[in-house]
Symmetry: C2
Subunit: 343 residues, 2 copies
């Protein structure tokens, strides 16, 4: 049997089965970051994520600077998803021998700019050649800190909690489609630029995550970032919290450029919002009495809108999608699987 028959998530479950964390205070496998207790006032957060040429990016559609920025941004987003403060990055590069030095300089300029933007220091790394393979890989480990008792895990959602997202969903997937599909003449340049920007240079919600972690324990009950797509990531959150969820379709926040491009490409924008990946918005749950306070703080301190898109349900209710006419249907995860062949 080869690994493509298993797929990414089954393989992770297989490899991590039985991997225990060292101490009761540590949280390991299964959240956005590992949460580690080294005995100081803050806990340590550690995460790693990589970008592979031809899988996650191409030099035809992204500038070297954007590739570098995004490689760090997706890790910053994992720290944000636990409410942490990014601190230190290690950058591991796999370089094909005939890569141009200019491209590498550009990637590193992007890495440095993104690190500086979020007060993160590049403290180490590694360079290796790819041998016969011709694909550039940027693999980053990011360390952060979070005040003891303030990390927000995936596992804390409870029945009746409101399901919230920052910003808008689907833009990144729509931006990717404008690269892949030729019919972009009908799309306004301004809309094209906005959506492609969200795909090639996503903004990690670091400040928003820190703000959410600063509330009293129990106000924000669970959180992760939307990297696989809303349907997939809400599934992860519900699995870890042992609950179900209802998403109200009409409330999902869509941007104006997304609506325009969906019309031009004749695609349902809600498909991108529900199942498209790489939005890097925060998906979190909170208790109803905290809603106004949290919404106001996010708007005033970060300029970021909060939208309530549904409610946590009992486990037995499963994941459902509620239409505005009252009809409900099961919500299935259609996440991107990096290991399974494309349909």
């Amino acid at each position: 049997m080869d690994i493509s028959a298993l797929g990414e998530f089954e393989l992770i479950a297989r490899l991590t089965a039985g991997l225990a964390t060292r101490a009761a205070g540590d949280v390991g496998i299964g959240d956005d970051c590992a949460l580690l207790d080294l005995g100081s006032g803050d806990l340590l957060l550690a995460t790693c994520d990589c970008q592979v040429e031809g899988v996650h990016f191409t030099l035809q559609t992204s500038s070297p600077e954007h590739i570098g920025r995004k490689a760090l941004a997706i890790n910053l987003s994992d720290i944000a998803a636990m409410g942490g403060t990014p601190r230190y990055a290690l950058v591991s590069l796999l370089l094909p021998p005939h890569l141009s030095v200019d491209v590498l300089d550009g990637i590193y300029a992007g890495l440095r700019a993104e690190a500086q933007r979020f007060d993160t220091t590049i403290v180490g790394g590694n360079i290796a050649g790819t041998g016969a393979a011709q694909q550039l890989v940027i693999d980053i480990t990011l360390l952060g800190t979070v005040a003891r008792g303030h990390a927000i895990l995936r596992s804390g959602a409870r029945v009746g909690d409101l399901i919230c997202v920052t910003g808008s969903l689907g833009d990144s997937a729509a931006g990717l489609q404008t690269f892949l599909r030729p019919a972009t003449d009908a799309v306004l340049p301004h809309d094209l630029q906005a959506l492609r920007g969200r795909h090639t240079a996503p903004l990690p919600r670091v400040h928003e995550g820190q703000l959410l972690a600063s509330f009293k324990a129990g106000q924000i009950t669970a959180m992760l970032d939307i990297s696989d797509g809303l349907s997939g990531d809400l599934t992860h959150l519900c699995e870890r919290s042992g609950c179900g969820a209802r998403v109200d379709l009409a409330t999902i926040p869509l941007s104006t450029p997304l609506s325009h491009v969906a019309q031009a490409l004749q695609h349902d924008p809600l498909d991108w919002a529900l199942h498209g990946g790489e939005d890097y918005e925060l998906l979190f749950t909170l208790q109803l009495p905290s809603l106004d306070e949290v919404r106001t703080a996010l708007q005033e301190q970060c300029g970021t809108p909060l939208t309530v898109i549904g409610e946590i349900q009992p486990l037995s209710a499963g994941l459902t999608l509620a239409h505005s006419n009252g009809h409900t249907e099961p919500l299935h995860a259609h996440s991107w699987d990096h290991l399974k062949p494309k349909k």
Copy 2:
């Protein structure tokens, strides 16, 4: 210009120029690990290193278990080189789609076994597909701790310090040659197994490094692990310490299997010992009055021999190799460069 024209070390210098560490207490780029101050009693060590199929290993010459073990061992060796205690590992895998699940299970069994051997917890990681490329990559970030004031850097060597190594040198390079060269009929199976074992499943000197860091500050003045080869790694140590060095050729410790195999393959064993990589022994400097105490402790507590192979010289003396007849010659680094084409 493409990167192979620059080579690994020039490229690292180019990319890391101007990368500053955050605080005065932190040591970043240029040592075996980054040394980070998060405010607890211990300092944090962070390092990453990867193994690429076809560059660092092949499934023809290493078992999946050994590949997993070695991928972690080379990182454990970096923690050892600073005198630290390994704590947490993050495992990033790049998987070709048709990799067999059995191979991956074997690699992970090796990773777990090596982690358990050195009381290290695998707390996270990432899995990505390689797309069109067919090379397996195992990229590991390892975190460790070291008591404040006890980390041993590359930069502390002073004129007159003795240059010491643990164990014996050249075995790994000789083991690799027995895979590459067909004339191994003349080699005894026991010798073949010993040298190949040092290449495919090196033992990181974690306990030795911790012991060396436990001495009073200033007794052990500088340290790194021998991954690039003695000539290359001594060059790194001298560059960081701003000094020269004399290596006494006759004192370099060679194992009995190495001597046998060198004879069978008609190769100078000192060439492997000086310039072969991946021995993962510790190379360190100490002040003469500490020699007996340190040698006895290493032997009694770790069962590991210490050999004095030379002396730190003024910068102006450069790096020299002293023959037993009194003749000296310059010692040039012939380190493996992962980016330059092979000769």
